[in-house]
């Protein structure tokens, strides 16, 4: 009986602590929105963070996109060939990238590269009392440290996703046209004719914007909420990747069902 009570107690504690953390993260989100004036008035603060989160993520984004595009080209070609429509490879690569893989893979890579860096940085700033020092200097750390990183993530993500899609299409082109020998004109013209700006590209941008908000707020919250110890920061960094990945995939399904439904 006692072990049963203990079990329910553990489950209850786990649920309430998660709800509590969700509430704290939501509160941080609104505090960021309230303190965002500084991020735009002194845009160089946000620009600096765009460099660290966006520009510094370019290598992993470009290399991954190129390989993803090449794999799509290969797999797509051999499947389409069976149905005699190998010219449609350009559309397949472009739609797969612009609608799904661009925003989703970019967000997953962003969470692993920039998200963890943000969490570790904020967590260490907290552990070494840098945030307290800022508070004691009458400077709001949410406005000065957190908000610029948030907006940098939100701005960088759609740009990175666009670069991912572009480089991915280039990877698909290299494999399909240059290596396999699909007609170049068919590759580009089919893509041009069948990719819709509003339905495919804008929806992809909306997805990456939503992922940008989710990934960045998770990374910032985990860092801000991390216990000020080495172990605490390490756990927070791991949680950033795990939570971001699950949230990205979950949100992707929800957004896709709305977009296809609409």
């Amino acid at each position: 009986m006692k072990s049963l009570i203990n079990f329910f107690e553990k489950v209850g504690f786990s649920v309430t602590s998660r709800i509590h953390r969700l509430g704290t993260a939501t509160r941080l989100f609104f505090l960021i929105l309230l303190a965002s004036g500084e991020s735009f008035k002194r845009f160089q603060l946000t620009m600096k963070e765009i460099y660290f989160t966006g520009v510094m993520s370019l290598v992993i984004i470009i290399v991954s996109a190129f390989f993803v595009g090449m794999v799509l080209g290969l797999q797509g070609y051999y499947t389409l060939q069976k149905y005699g429509s190998s010219e449609a490879i350009g559309v397949l690569v472009a739609l797969a990238l612009v609608r799904e893989l661009g925003p989703v893979v970019t967000a997953l890579l962003f969470a692993g590269r920039a998200g963890t860096a943000i969490t570790a940085e904020i967590g260490l700033m907290k552990a070494t009392e840098q945030l307290s020092a800022m508070e004691m200097m009458a400077v709001n750390p949410v406005g000065r440290i957190i908000a610029p990183r948030f907006w940098a993530g939100v701005i960088a993500m759609p740009i990175l996703a666009a670069i991912f899609s572009m480089v991915g299409i280039l990877g698909g082109y290299v494999v399909a046209v240059i290596v396999i020998g699909v007609d170049e004109g068919a590759f580009w013209s089919q893509m041009q004719a069948n990719v819709d700006f509003r339905y495919d590209i804008v929806n992809g941008v909306i997805k990456s914007l939503v992922f940008g908000v989710a990934c960045t707020i998770i990374a910032l919250f985990e860092g801000y909420d991390a216990p000020p110890t080495a172990e605490g920061v390490s756990r927070a960094t791991t949680r950033t990747v795990v939570t971001s990945s699950l949230v990205i995939l979950g949100l992707d399904f929800i957004l896709t069902s709305f977009m296809i439904g609409g």
Binding site: M125, E129, Q130, S132, A133, M136, M137, A138
Partner: protein, 264 residues
């Protein structure tokens, strides 16, 4: 104008159900260097946090310049904090900024001074702590003592009325310790500030402080000038000053009997 810049009255504070301070009264006079001493975990640093408005008391009050800190809204607390400078235990320098940028940080945040004036002010502050020649270095390139001095230059960047020091001597070699001691006294007198030091280093503190509070068991166990405290017969003060292993602060943490723990 009252002689006391900071007054703490009947302060009670604790985390959850644990009570750390049980009715503390303190007064910090303008222009003086006061120290708060006591063992580890006695809540010394918490008093600085209460003065800075980072936490709120359960009861009682902390007033700075005749304004009760915890009754202020965030803007009010930020206004009060602009009168304060704080040196954290390990400096808390911003690791992504150079020494120069660290000291310039409060000036950039709170003033619209042109860059050439900021440069002069930063170099003057760094010169005061003997580190003008290190302005290009990054915090990771500094020794513990140097980092503490840069943090001190940053704390006095806006010429505060109150300078608070959290364990300024912790982990320093004797030379760095002597330098910090000298700087605390010199800067306090030169700026006409009021300094509060939280520490447990007896010899250093007694050599330059004007007034000392001993905190133990959540209350002010003793207070007075260094001379008065040296002559004190209070068992706790004697144990603390003479670094005695056992006394009112016991060597052993309370535990069941030794024999029962060893199953004898």
């Amino acid at each position: 104008m009252s002689d006391n810049l900071i007054t703490i009255e009947n302060l009670t504070f604790g985390y959850g159900t644990e009570i750390l301070h049980k009715g503390i009264n303190m007064e910090f006079q303008r222009g003086k260097v006061s120290a708060i001493m006591g063992g580890s975990g006695s809540g010394k640093t918490t008093i600085l946090k209460l003065i800075g408005g980072q936490i709120k008391p359960k009861s009682g009050s902390v007033s700075v310049d005749n304004q009760i800190v915890h009754k202020q809204n965030l803007d009010g607390i930020y206004k009060l904090r602009r009168k304060m400078g704080m040196l954290f235990q390990h400096g808390a320098l911003f690791t992504d900024l150079s020494v120069y940028e660290n000291v310039a940080f409060p000036m950039r945040e709170h003033t619209d001074l042109p860059e050439n004036i900021i440069k002069d002010l930063v170099l003057m502050k760094l010169n005061a702590v003997g580190l003008r020649g290190a302005y290009k270095l990054m915090p990771t390139e500094l020794s513990g003592g140097m980092a503490r001095r840069v943090a001190l230059a940053r704390a006095i960047a806006l010429d505060p009325d109150i300078i608070m020091y959290d364990e300024p001597f912790a982990g320093l070699d004797p030379i760095s310790m002597a330098v910090i001691c000298d700087l605390i006294r010199t800067l306090n007198d030169a700026l006409g500030a009021t300094s509060i030091i939280v520490t447990h280093d007896v010899a250093e503190t007694f050599s330059f402080a004007d007034y000392i509070y001993f905190v133990a068991d959540g209350i002010v166990a003793a207070e007075g000038s260094p001379k008065q405290l040296m002559a004190s017969k209070l068992p706790f003060v004697k144990q603390f000053i003479h670094s005695e292993k056992d006394g009112p602060v016991p060597f052993h943490v309370s535990a069941p009997s030794y024999n029962s723990d060893l199953s004898l």
